[in-house]
């Protein structure tokens, strides 16, 4: 793989999709307002839960706010990259335009996952990062190089797990053609990731750790933030991430053998 070429192509992707989005100014403003209102609404909801109790599942409001911050960053990444690209897979398969992707001399997964970008998600990422900095302050977390590296590793892992899950579901489109609903179910489940895993019952915790790894997406990075994540959890998260990335990649290559293209 020629890394320079991929860098050049990705720069072009960034430029063309930003230029496309900037054609519609009002849409960007509406998306930005939605992102702000969504964050305010989520914090308000969280504060209602904590109104009559000091902690939920062992987490104080200030600590739970970290999960909200990570969720907002992930949601921003979802809206910036995953949503505009991975939702397109369904359209590509239904309309047969996946043909153009497959005939380009670049990796089809790279092309289909990164072709578009939605700048409105940037605001969510910025808001999420600001919230995390605020949480560092109110939780009196000491910043150190180790802390930053661990945070970066776990958040990167979260992004990769989320991407793999989404990509895996979108890939099934090659057989089932229309799978909008499945990705919507995944998005709905991610809302659960705004709350600490320990606030759920044992069976639900098991479900959200093994079947749909919400626990690995938000809770473990939050624990790293608060300094009470054991190292084995971080190693486990890296391991789980690799499994998800490899599986989704192999599944895509396997599915392409069954691609029958749409009729003309």
């Amino acid at each position: 793989m020629n890394k320079n070429k991929y860098l050049v192509v990705y720069t072009k992707f960034l430029y063309t999709s930003l230029a496309s989005e900037l054609e519609y100014k009002t849409n960007i403003i509406i998306d930005a307002i939605t992102a702000i209102l969504s964050l305010v609404g989520s914090i308000f909801l969280l504060s209602i839960f904590f109104q009559n109790t000091g902690n939920i599942g062992g987490w104080k409001f200030e600590q739970a706010l970290i999960i909200q911050g990570i969720y907002t960053v992930l949601n921003g990444i979802t809206n910036t990259w995953f949503n505009p690209n991975l939702r397109e897979i369904v359209r590509h398969v239904r309309e047969g335009t996946l043909d153009f992707v497959l005939l380009k001399p670049v990796d089809s997964q790279f092309f289909i996952s990164l072709k578009k970008i939605s700048p409105s998600g940037f605001l969510e990422i910025i808001l999420g990062v600001c919230l995390l900095f605020y949480c560092i302050k109110i939780n009196q977390i000491k910043l150190s190089l180790n802390f930053l590296i661990l945070c970066l590793i776990t958040i990167t892992c979260s992004i990769c797990i989320l991407y793999s899950l989404w990509f895996f579901i979108s890939t099934t489109t090659i057989w089932f053609v229309k799978t909008w609903n499945a990705t919507e179910v995944l998005r709905s489940l991610l809302y659960i990731g705004r709350f600490p895993m320990s606030s759920f019952s044992f069976s639900l915790r098991l479900f959200f750790s093994i079947i749909i790894p919400i626990a690995f997406i938000t809770t473990i990075p939050s624990e790293v933030f608060l300094g009470f994540a054991q190292i084995w959890k971080v190693i486990l998260e890296i391991f789980i991430t690799l499994i998800f990335l490899i599986t989704s990649r192999r599944f895509w290559l396997f599915a392409l053998k069954y691609y029958s293209s749409a009729s003309s």
Partner: protein
């Protein structure tokens, strides 16, 4: 001696296709217990194509032309048989192979809808490892040939269908492919745009010695571009040879629509011994054998009072249906 650039041997393709009975009962049955059956859409076909040839694939809708093109360019994996395109197995889609081919589909587009086509061209150039200066040179040359210099900077959504199709062609040819797969490239275009596109393809073929595999339902595309055609019927090849020979068999007549000055003239023409296809008031459509067209028209113009006339080739679908499907002719 010119080398074969495409070789196809005993190629077959089957698809699992589900069918649904009409009505609510059929819908529920289809939802809970979907019945699929394997349908062989391409059946044991063989052919070779030489470098620089322009080949037309003819056949009715659903005959299997597009499936063959998609197997040739590597989008669909064959069920049986072998394909070699430019010495490669297409379905492996290796980088070297993909840089050598292109696929253009008249009904699908790859240009970025909200941006001017030039942005899509530069994006494609980066995908094909073409540097900016070379890309600029190729865009200039191809846009000159296609006469779309002025449209390069207008958003795709504001372009007419013809301008969009020309831009699609430019986007698909920026990497100078040696093999072009064209699936109904002139679909929906007006006559001028169709002619321009055909002239461009001819010029591209001449200049680059490119091999072109083309499907089209417009007889004119085939007659003006292809010397050789492959007729596909129900997934099998029913004819592979010179177009000239095929046309003599498939289209021995032309349809001439004559608008007479009055219904009386049309009635007179109706009884004059010409083969009449249809007649509505003062308009009459005659079927005239190709070799008699000029003499018959002379007779009509000299003896009847006519307002207008149009000469039409019978639609290729109609010919295919009447002749290939009913198997009146054997080749």
């Amino acid at each position: 001696m010119v080398e074969n650039i495409i070789e196809v041997e005993r190629l077959s393709k089957s698809f699992n296709i589900s069918s649904k009975d009409p009505g609510l009962r059929g819908t529920l049955k289809h939802f809970f217990n979907r019945e699929t059956k394997s349908v062989k859409v391409i059946k044991n076909i063989n052919f070779q194509i030489k470098e620089g040839e322009i080949i037309g694939f003819l056949g009715a809708n659903g005959a299997g032309k597009t499936t063959i093109l998609k197997m040739l360019c590597g989008l669909i994996v064959p069920s049986e048989g072998s394909i070699s395109v430019s010495g490669c197995l297409p379905y492996r889609r290796r980088e070297g192979f993909l840089k050598n081919i292109t696929l253009i589909m008249g009904q699908k587009q790859q240009l970025i809808w909200d941006l001017p086509p030039i942005e899509s061209f530069y994006l494609n150039a980066s995908i094909y490892d073409i540097d900016k200066f070379e890309a600029k040179r190729r865009i200039k040359k191809l846009s000159d040939m296609l006469e779309i210099e002025d449209e390069l900077y207008i958003p795709v959504r504001k372009l007419s269908l013809g301008q969009r199709m020309k831009s699609e062609l430019l986007a698909a040819l920026i990497h100078k492919p040696k093999i072009l797969f064209l699936d109904e490239p002139t679909l929906g275009l007006d006559i001028n745009a169709q002619r321009n596109l055909r002239e461009f393809l001819k010029a591209y073929n001449n200049e680059n010695n490119a091999t072109i595999c083309l499907t089209s339902h417009y007889m004119k595309d085939i007659t003006s571009l292809c010397k050789r055609v492959i007729c596909v019927h129900n997934g099998s090849i029913s004819y592979d040879g010179k177009l000239e020979k095929l046309l003599k068999k498939l289209s021995p007549v032309k349809e001439v629509l004559i608008v007479c000055s009055s219904e009386k003239d049309a009635n007179k023409l109706d009884n004059s011994g010409f083969k009449v296809k249809s007649k509505v008031k003062n308009e009459i459509t005659l079927k005239i054998e190709n070799r008699n067209v000029s003499s018959s028209l002379r007779t009509i113009l000299n003896n009847y009072d006519i307002e207008d006339l149009f000469i039409n080739e019978p639609p290729i679908d109609e010919i295919i249906e009447k002749i290939l499907v009913k198997k009146k002719y054997t080749f």
